[in-house]
């Protein structure tokens, strides 16, 4: 088992390589929790909660109760891409509450992994998506975490290596996936 770690101020990239009859190749992106920030968010949530109870006691319906703590529980701590060679790719999201959401895409359904540039009204970011046969929408590998491209490139290369089976399929998607990354 080997472990490669890359990190920046917000995200941590971990790579597990399992040998065996079915080799597992797992890529995790972990949100680095700043303890001071977590404490502040909790304090804020607590204040909101107390405030909500106070409002309830005053017989005022508090319908927006402690959204911030809910947000904290709903946000995954780790999102992973598990490449099970010759079988498929499993996307996992581990939540703070212990809940794990998994989705599996069989290898023959995957057309191509693509690094995509996204533009919102306020910012730009990169995302790793899987083009799936017979599906119009793109399959996002990391739905919540938005890691920088330098963390995504090794995962993308691993996915390419896993899904590449040596034949050329003529499809427009093929062209889109040709991202030549050159940082000088």
């Amino acid at each position: 088992m080997t472990k490669i770690q890359l990190a920046n101020s917000q995200y941590l990239y971990k790579h597990d390589d399992c040998e065996g009859p079915h080799p597992l190749d797992t890529h995790h992106i972990v949100i680095q929790q700043n303890s001071a920030r977590v404490f502040l968010v909790f304090l804020f949530a607590l204040l909101l909660f107390i405030n909500a109870i106070y409002l309830c006691l005053l017989n005022v319906t508090a319908n927006s109760s402690s959204r911030s703590s809910k947000w904290l529980v709903c946000k995954p701590l780790t999102e992973s891409v598990v490449i099970i060679s010759s079988l498929g790719v499993q996307l996992e999201a581990h939540y703070w509450s212990g809940r794990v959401v998994r989705s599996f895409i069989p290898i023959d359904k995957i057309l191509k992994p693509v690094l995509n540039e996204n533009v919102t009204p306020f910012t730009c970011y990169w995302s790793l998506v899987l083009l799936v046969r017979g599906k119009k929408e793109l399959n996002l590998a990391f739905e919540v975490v938005k890691p920088p491209v330098k963390l995504l490139v090794p995962i993308w290369k691993a996915l390419c290596a896993a899904t590449y089976c040596g034949e050329t399929t003529d499809s427009p998607a093929e062209y889109n996936s040709r991202v030549f990354v050159k940082a000088s």
Binding site: L6, P121, C124, W126, P148, V153, E174, Y175, V179, F180
Partner: protein
């Protein structure tokens, strides 16, 4: 990056493909020629329908379609500060050295230039149109223009008339304004091998049928010309391409004078089909009342048509007329008389306006803009203050808030956190051929 002479330019305008028009064409052709000269060009515009995000065009021209909704005449809602984060992100991640805004109508362009100046970038502005001075819209527009141009490094106008107009409107020192005309894609607009012959002369009109383009003049000119040349010796026919609010008037005229067989109305003509319409005619008629720079005339001349219009071409390629029906009829008459002496192929070969030439001249303006001295906030504020008694103070306030917001953004999202986009190298043969090896030249992909 390595070559200090190489510019990294961000073109900003609300007007870009898939919408079609003079400004859109200008940005596209200029960008293509600048790319060929070895510069890096990125275009920023707002999203058109479901076209948003990043697109690549021919030659690796990168286009950002920023998802801000247009609200009026393809313009985004003026938000003043709303676009600051995305413009800052793009400027940093594409390592832009110079911002080039197009068209005074575009709010996105004004905002981008303002933010770029706040962030200390050099900016160049190109004005493509003429404006009045008297009506409410123009007065407002001129104030906005004055605000933007108070601080640009260099400005470009498309003709001498346009320069005069811009200098008067914005109070910009004339030595800062350059004149670089538009050009025409001569490879696209070629005359046919043999001329449409027979005993008929076809007069082509292609323009939007609006007041400014002189559609009302056409209503008077067409019946007069038809009356002057009855179908006895040779036939005179009109082909009118274009759509607009004045189309109804033209159709009414056609009914009234029963000219259905001599005036053909094509409706809107897509740009790709303009050549096929042009080559079916002999004379191109342009009836615009005002025009900063009429690309349509150039396209017609490149197709070898004699043009009746205002002064932008040498005298032997054009017959000039006042914007007055009787004078225009006289001009058409003159054009008919010199028509036998015209050789379309010869006219095409003269190539007076070339995009490569435009790009080279624009490059010089970029060089000069980059040589301009850096100014601090106080020096720049004093320039705004000179814009007017009230407006000056207002402009200063807007700039100070912009500056503070920029500083705040720097704290909230430091420039180091914004990733630089790697340059994508696409050679022409790679465009076609699809290789399976995913070459990733990433020097720091193995960093710990």
């Amino acid at each position: 990056m390595g070559d200090p002479k190489r510019h990294r330019i961000l073109m900003v305008s609300d007007f870009f493909y898939p919408k079609f028009g003079g400004v859109e064409n200008h940005i596209y052709y200029l960008s293509q020629c600048l790319l060929k000269l070895g510069h890096k060009v990125v275009v920023m515009t707002h999203a058109y329908g479901n076209r948003s995000g990043v697109r690549y065009m021919t030659g690796g021209l990168k286009v950002y379609y920023v998802p801000w909704k247009p609200f009026l005449m393809q313009n985004t809602l003026p938000t003043f500060y709303g676009t600051l984060p995305i413009i800052r992100t793009i400027l940093i991640r594409e390592q832009i050295s110079l911002v080039h805004g197009h068209q005074a109508f575009s709010t996105l362009c004004h905002e981008a230039l303002m933010h770029a100046r706040t962030m200390g970038y050099k900016v160049v502005f190109t004005d493509h149109s003429l404006y009045g001075f008297a009506d409410v819209g123009s007065i407002h527009m001129n104030k906005v223009l004055q605000f933007t141009l108070a601080d640009v490094s260099q400005a470009i106008c498309v003709s001498h008339t346009s320069k005069e107009n811009t200098v008067l409107r914005s109070g910009l020192p004339p030595e800062k304004v350059y004149v670089i005309p538009n050009a025409v894609d001569t490879a696209m607009f070629k005359p046919t091998a043999e001329r449409p012959s027979g005993n008929e002369i076809v007069i082509v009109v292609i323009s939007r049928l609006v007041y400014r383009k002189g559609a009302d003049l056409l209503v008077e000119v067409i019946p007069e010309v038809c009356r002057m040349y009855p179908n006895i010796y040779f036939k005179v026919r009109f082909i009118v391409g274009g759509d607009g609010p004045k189309r109804v008037r033209l159709e009414e005229m056609r009914e009234k004078h029963s000219l259905q067989d001599r005036v053909e109305m094509l409706g809107a003509v897509p740009h790709a089909r303009v050549r096929s319409v042009l080559i079916s005619g002999h004379i191109f008629l342009n009836s615009s009342l005002t025009e900063a720079f009429c690309i349509a005339i150039l396209e017609a001349a490149s197709c070898g048509l004699l043009t009746v219009s205002t002064r932008v071409l040498p005298d032997d390629m054009i017959v000039l007329a006042e914007p007055d029906p009787t004078d225009m009829v006289q001009a058409i008459k003159k054009a008919m008389s010199i028509l036998p002496m015209i050789d379309p192929q010869d006219m095409h070969n003269r190539k007076l306006y070339d995009w490569h030439d435009v790009a080279k001249r624009t490059e010089i303006v970029y060089d000069r803009a980059l040589k301009c001295a850096n100014q601090n906030l106080l020096e720049r504020l004093s320039r705004y203050l000179a814009c007017g008694a009230w407006a000056g103070k207002l402009f200063c306030l807007v700039m100070i808030i912009d500056f503070l917001l920029w500083r705040l953004l720097q704290l909230w999202k430091p420039a180091e956190d914004i990733e630089v986009v790697p340059d994508i190298v696409l050679s022409h043969d790679e465009d076609r051929e699809i290789s399976q090896d995913f070459q990733v030249f990433n020097k720091d992909h193995s960093l710990r």
